[in-house]
Symmetry: C2
Subunit: 253 residues, 2 copies
DNA sequence: AAGTGGTCTAGACCACCAT
DNA sequence: TGGTGGTCTAGACCACTTA
């Protein structure tokens, strides 16, 4: 048999299914398959890459584990889309002290263009003093203000994003990135600490100055761990908590 | 062919590899294979359960994803043990603001027997007013006190645990549970919030009263999500942060 | 009825480790 | 050298969805 595409591309390095995964990821990056649409069937993909179904499935298994694609028996394999459920399960970790989880309502307070700080530029992989968008949102749960979000975006990748367009989205912020800017947030890295409320934050959250707040510093990442957004959330944890459930749902059912 | 053990046990319900996983987990619970020792080879296990290697491997794949067993090519598959590395990777989420992670030193301040509160009994699945052990530890990083841990254990499962034995352990606390009491903590569920330091905690951490602290409420779980320990950690996040890295390392490489 | 993903099998070959 | 897990294959059959 002549060498297949996948075999020659692999050049003998590493497992074949990793190379297939790399090719699938590349096609996702290039938007060969857009969010929400079905990939070709496993049979077709296996033929395309010149591998067996088992090998193809092992590559897709990893993309499923990373929540980049979703399988639906009888229907097909789909590129994951950002929606309310995905937000609540994988990106919004705030729950009520009774365990109840609610979808937050958002009010945009600021929308500004500015220059990145040294730290921001470094964390976003931008040149020093590159332009960024700064957005401040107030998030409410069941009518009460609970979170102040400060978002930093690289202006170059969101060049025509305006305050109006941002506010007029009818879905999650990551859905907007995904559909309007071709930027697919696939995971995030977060660092948490405790701080005291400053006067301005206290006013927004309707709490006393120097009340304790949970600070969440998040970097949102797209394919191959490229950073696309910085976000600092200040959370009033009087009636809510941050939920970190590791293990079960993260890996296997 | 006559029906195999696994097939008859499954009674036609659900996938065969899930039933194999259940049988493997049962053997782990019953300590047929103790922590640190190798399971029988995949070939042997496949014969034992009357399934193919592929099916057996799929069952073990899930146990590996849940970090209950570890595979080592050429050597075998081993029951995971609790050690410093496992603690740092999967249970101790505090890192320096520079990203550096250090192993904490522990000083035991209290070791008491008491009755469970209503909430504790409920969270540990105990009868009301059941006996519990209350342990307070002061954790230091690079010589500085950073965390106060309050641990609650069901006394029944740790009946002969004394303060001396607890202090004299030469490894992690979960290692002690695993080796001395046959209790294998496999994952944890955590809720985080921000609080103000009380006078006693402030004194221990050498900070001012009313300084902000990160509060981590953890439930440690063993096989099949049975709760075995409650722990409340109060963390001075002046020089350290809580690191929540979801996705990559949790699921697939 | 046709097409999809989900499960299961049997076997080959490779990479790695202990002896 | 023999045993282990790691990869890859080819195919059968099942469960589910859509039309």
């Amino acid at each position: 048999m002549p060498p297949t595409i996948a075999q020659s591309a692999a050049q003998g390095h590493g497992p074949l299914y990793k190379e297939v995964k790399r090719l699938l990821t590349q096609s996702l990056i290039e938007r060969e398959w857009a969010p929400g649409v079905a990939l070709p069937s496993e049979t077709r993909l296996a033929k395309r890459y010149g591998v067996s179904i088992g090998t193809l499935r092992k590559a897709i298994d990893e993309l499923v584990a990373e929540r980049i694609v979703q399988r639906h028996q009888g229907r097909g394999t789909f590129v994951a889309t950002h929606n309310a459920n995905r937000l609540l399960f994988h990106f919004f970790h705030i729950v009520g002290r009774d365990g109840h989880q609610a979808f937050p309502t958002t009010q945009t307070l600021h929308f500004r263009c500015a220059k990145a700080t040294e730290d921001e530029a470094q964390r976003l992989g931008l040149a020093a003093h590159a332009k960024v968008l700064r957005i401040r949102n107030l998030l409410s749960l069941e009518g009460q203000p609970v979170i102040v979000d400060d978002i930093v975006l690289p202006q170059a990748r969101f060049s025509d994003l305006t305050a109006q367009r941002f506010k007029q989205r009818d879905n999650t912020i990551y859905h907007l990135y995904q559909t309007a800017y071709g930027i697919n947030v696939v995971r995030s890295s977060e660092r948490l600490s405790a701080v005291l409320a400053t006067a301005d934050i206290a006013a927004l959250l309707k709490i006393q100055q120097h009340a304790p707040l949970l600070a969440i510093n998040r970097t949102a990442l797209t394919y191959r761990d490229a950073p696309v957004e910085l976000r600092r959330s200040l959370v009033n944890t009087t009636a809510h908590e941050y939920h970190s459930n590791r293990g079960k749902e993260q890996s296997a059912g």
